[in-house]
């Protein structure tokens, strides 16, 4: 009897976990108002399909995933509202774990109503789910995965609206050499694969540019940077932090301030977070622009701020990715072609959007990379505001 009760409880728990991990939200349930990047672009009405969101909206990276989910949901809500359509969004929580990403992706693949996916997770997750989605001919457009090898791993249905990682080192070193002219600099990696890859590219580029570069390394779990700052000393002009955790960079900046070290900090896209890293005078790169500074996006930015509070650069690319999928579905509906995975994939390959909310056209290379992808560089003002200084055409 006790065994039966235990088994029943385990089964109930597993069911609850499954439901939580892969909950469904009906399209059009949220109220929609304000500006629209997709409305007024000639979408036809009457399209019905389901799009999957794959991303980390609970756990340690919930802050990122929630922002991505909000923008994805809003893009669909706007579309449904403007065109009386019934596009649905199903959500799969990955918690940034490749194994969990595989589980939710398999669930979506087994659902014939799901015709495409937009993913907000990491490159590691894409590496895990890429083969599954390719075999299923299901489009997956990422708004954040920028590892170079994602578009050279043979994933036939993978696309991204953000530039690949190697461009980041290229754009940062060009800016540093062209504008900051440091005599002595130090790069501190955070021992993650993301960080060490960018570090080696930056080391090569800056050394080739004639800059003296030291290299240090700290774990992401480090809490005390004072000894490292003591070592860096006051004769260093520039400290580059290719890190993934913005709060750690803020802590590093505080340790510098405590010891009177005045070197300029240059962070990569991993620490782009106006709410968590705001050391005045620092620079931060990002794979996406700050849409609050793009005039045509003011209305959308205002609505999103009103609904969900301040946001960073993770949400807008997901909006753009969702728009690509919606555009593909719309074209199929307008032409009277069945909205199948294969047909959506073919349409996405031919995407040519000249005016995305990211302030740049969206067109994909045959590999799935964004044509003309580039990084944006921001400077943090004395009033802790991020202002773009490079990357805007």
């Amino acid at each position: 009897m006790r065994t039966r009760i235990t088994l029943t409880l385990i089964a109930a728990g597993a069911t609850l976990a499954g439901v939580t991990a892969c909950s469904t939200s009906g399209g059009g349930s949220s109220s929609v108002s304000g500006g629209s990047a997709s409305s007024g672009r000639g979408f036809s009405s009457g399209c019905n399909a389901t799009i999957a969101f794959i991303g980390p909206y609970t756990g340690n990276f919930a802050q990122i995933g929630e922002e991505q989910l909000h923008f994805t949901q809003y893009a669909i809500d706007q579309y449904n509202h403007a065109h009386h359509a019934s596009i649905r969004l199903v959500e799969g929580d990955t918690q940034l774990q490749p194994a969990q990403a595989v589980t939710v992706t398999q669930q979506f693949i087994s659902d014939p109503n799901v015709v495409a996916a937009v993913s907000g997770g990491s490159s590691q997750e894409i590496l895990a789910v890429g083969p599954l989605l390719s075999r299923a001919n299901m489009v997956d457009i990422s708004g954040s995965a920028n590892q170079d090898n994602l578009t050279s791993s043979g994933f036939t249905s993978f696309f991204r609206v953000v530039p690949r990682s190697s461009l980041q080192a290229q754009d940062i070193s060009a800016y540093v050499l062209g504008h900051l002219h440091p005599k002595k600099s130090v790069i501190v990696d955070d021992q993650s694969s993301y960080s060490t890859a960018i570090t080696s590219q930056l080391l090569a580029a800056l050394t080739a540019g004639g800059v003296s570069v030291d290299h240090e390394s700290v774990s992401q779990q480090t809490t005390d940077y004072s000894s490292l700052v003591s070592k860096i000393g006051k004769d260093t002009d520039l400290v580059i932090l290719p890190w993934q955790i913005a709060a750690n960079a803020e802590q590093f900046a505080q340790a510098m301030q405590e010891q009177g070290v005045t070197a300029t900090i240059f962070g990569t896209d991993g620490i782009f977070s106006p709410s968590q890293f705001n050391a005045a005078g620092s620079y931060v790169a990002s794979f996406a622009p700050d849409i609050t500074q793009i005039p045509t996006d003011q209305s959308l930015a205002g609505v999103m701020e009103q609904k969900y509070g301040t946001f960073g650069t993770y949400g807008p690319p997901m909006y753009a990715a969702t728009e690509v999928v919606l555009g593909a579905i719309n074209k199929l509906c307008t032409a009277g072609t069945p909205v199948t995975r294969e047909n959506v994939l073919a349409q996405v390959r031919n995407t040519d959007d000249s005016s995305s909310i990211l302030g740049q056209p969206i067109k994909f290379m045959p590999t799935g990379d964004l044509v003309g992808g580039r990084y944006f560089i921001f400077k943090i003002d004395a009033d802790k505001k991020y202002t773009v200084v490079s990357g805007v055409s």
């Binding site: 340690n60 390394s217 779990q221 070592k231 000393g233 802590q251 505080q254």
Partner: protein, 305 residues
């Protein structure tokens, strides 16, 4: 020379925090002969409590109360809060397993560790909370001699940690509570036969050890500037390493172990490379274990067969 002094200051500050955590590990191990792996999370909870007291006092940029009073409240409430959670953990996760094989209590403490960390994510969120110490304890206050910078918050940390450690030593050596703790540590059954309440003594041990972790958590927030749910893992690991290096169960050993680790990390970062600081700390642990298996100040205990 300036770098040497600066690294000493950095290492001492860090070492004091490790020492306070290590004391909690050592006290519990000394009395119960069990490893409380959840101890690092009490440090994390202390950091969060300190943060919330700071917010309730008006926030770092607009404190409604005098700074010394806010600091006293932060330390006091964090110590009480962490001690309260420590008591609950002892009562519900460890006491029922006191007569079970030691591995059961170890696994239970591992479970409590994950429970507390998950609960922290649930209640406090995954994002870090900034103390913004500079706003109310300026880095410009303190000792500044040429390139040498010792901020007031670091001086405060070393002073509070030293006073706490001295107070604890006096408590253990000179009070009836300390005598009971030493008696239970030496022989639990004999102590019980002498009329000492083992349950009460163990509870008091958890109260003191957990309060120390809470104090260390606030210190960490003030010096390093943030409270985050993952804070307990590394701090707990380093505190545990300090306790083992010093001789687990030995209070002066825990203090020494904490300082050794803090200074080792600091000097490795400053003179070799930050890349090797963890390598040095855990390498040191292995070396000490090989040369003195009972730790620097620990005594070898003969096993009853």
């Amino acid at each position: 020379m300036q770098l040497f002094v600066q690294l000493c200051v950095d290492g001492l500050t860090l070492g004091c925090m490790y020492a306070l955590i290590a004391l909690g590990y050592s006290m519990v191990y000394g009395v119960l002969r069990m490893l409380n792996l959840a101890h690092g999370d009490l440090y994390m909870i202390g950091a969060f409590i300190g943060y919330f007291i700071l917010q309730w006092s008006g926030g770092p940029t607009a404190l409604a109360l005098p700074v010394p009073l806010v600091l006293v409240c932060m330390f006091a409430v964090a110590a009480i809060g962490s001690a309260g959670i420590g008591v609950v953990i002892e009562r519900f996760a460890y006491r029922p397993l006191r007569k079970a094989p030691s591995v059961a209590a170890l696994v239970s403490s591992l479970g409590v560790f994950f429970l507390l960390e998950s609960a922290a994510i649930l209640f406090f969120g995954a994002q870090s909370r900034s103390y913004n110490t500079e706003s109310f304890l300026s880095f410009h206050t303190g000792i500044h001699l040429g390139p040498l910078n010792i901020s007031l918050v670091r001086i405060l940390t070393v002073v509070i940690a030293t006073a706490t450690m001295i107070g604890l030593t006096v408590l253990v050596r000179r009070t009836s509570l300390g005598r009971n703790m030493r008696a239970v540590s030496a022989d639990r059954e004999a102590a019980e036969m002498l009329g000492i309440s083992v349950n009460q003594t163990v509870r008091n041990t958890f109260i003191i050890g957990s309060a120390l972790a809470g104090v260390a958590g606030v210190m960490s927030g003030l010096v390093f500037g943030q409270a985050v749910s993952s804070l307990g893992l590394v701090a707990g690991l380093k505190g545990f390493t300090a306790a083992v290096i010093g001789g687990i169960g030995n209070l002066p050993g825990a203090m020494l172990g904490g300082l050794v680790i803090g200074l080792a990390e600091s000097f490795t970062t400053g003179y070799i490379s930050s890349t090797y600081s963890n390598l040095m700390v855990f390498g040191l642990l292995i070396v000490v274990m090989l040369l003195r298996p009972s730790g620097l100040l620990g005594k070898a205990i003969a096993e009853k067969v």
